[in-house]
Symmetry: C2
Amino acid sequence: MKYRKIPDETVRRLPIYLRVLLFSREQGKENISSRDIAVFLGVNSAQIRKDFSYFGDFGTPGVGYNIEKLTKQIKKILKLDVTHRVALVGVGNLGSAILAYPGFKIYGFDIAAAFDNNPKKIRKKINNIAIESISRIPTLKKRGINLAIVAVPEEAAQQTAEALVKAGIKGILNFSPCYIAVPKRVKVITIDIAMDLARLPYYMPAG
Amino acid sequence: MKYRKIPDETVRRLPIYLRVLLFSREQGKENISSRDIAVFLGVNSAQIRKDFSYFGDFGTPGVGYNIEKLTKQIKKILKLDVTHRVALVGVGNLGSAILAYPGFKIYGFDIAAAFDNNPKKIRKKINNIAIESISRIPTLKKRGINLAIVAVPEEAAQQTAEALVKAGIKGILNFSPCYIAVPKRVKVITIDIAMDLARLPYYMPAG
């Protein structure tokens, strides 16, 4: 409860810090300075110290932050200190790429179910996940899965979201190129890959 | 030149605002308040006003911002006031999804070339783009393409980036799950879809 006031922008950066911390620990480091993190990420270190100040200060001047403590704390705040099972809906090109993506595990995510409406795909396996019919989405509730990734075509996105909400899903990562409407209690994060590309020209030298 | 001091975090948000503005104009609106934008995006309106203040203030109290003026200004700052031709390297599942993605056009991007190392894919067309051998990456310079999207497996990412830099590419959107090293003059934005998922549990109700 006491963490509720962390700004969204800080929450957005926490997974980025977490990845740097996990990477540094793998390298055998025990401490890391805000300056090191800043250099690694290309951001400014005052921002990093400010972000960390929202949930307590583990830094020692001249030594830096204790990586293990800070990792634990960030995981706890992000509720990543437990494994989350995740469902994927839509196993087209993008969905298949998501199923094969190796990067979910480090944050404690386990893609545990995949659904598609194409009968030809049902029971096929990608990365050891057997694809199920979307008619089985309602089983998510009793399987204890409350996070979902939506990678269906735009025209199917809203009805997919509604089926997921009915099945008890509380958070949706939406890759369909449209907004989806859900009850307030459900959090949706919509990814628009074109938006990331839209930042690039700004940084390019003229001419 | 005078825009150089806009913070990265503001630059990151500008495409988000731009999309809201384009959407609102489509709806026939002429003006929009920071409050409307805030509600639409679920962020706070003080942040939006602060972001806009970096490049001049087009707002009128009680009326809001002139959508057309603000759209032009943001496009100019982001250097999106011209069409950018973009190359894609790696036409696997993710690359195919990117080629089919309809969302690039609204920011003025034109995916104009696609490369893969699989001989079976060469000359096949996706969305009217004929796939070329990666041996043709050096032709990008004379084709005037200086932005690229990398969607190759992790082990091929670094060498792909190096080939692109040699071919005059100045900005890379990297979907490979690893950091890539490039000269300082080249801007790389690395996308980690797991990182976006990592923000979701924070917002989910307990229990």
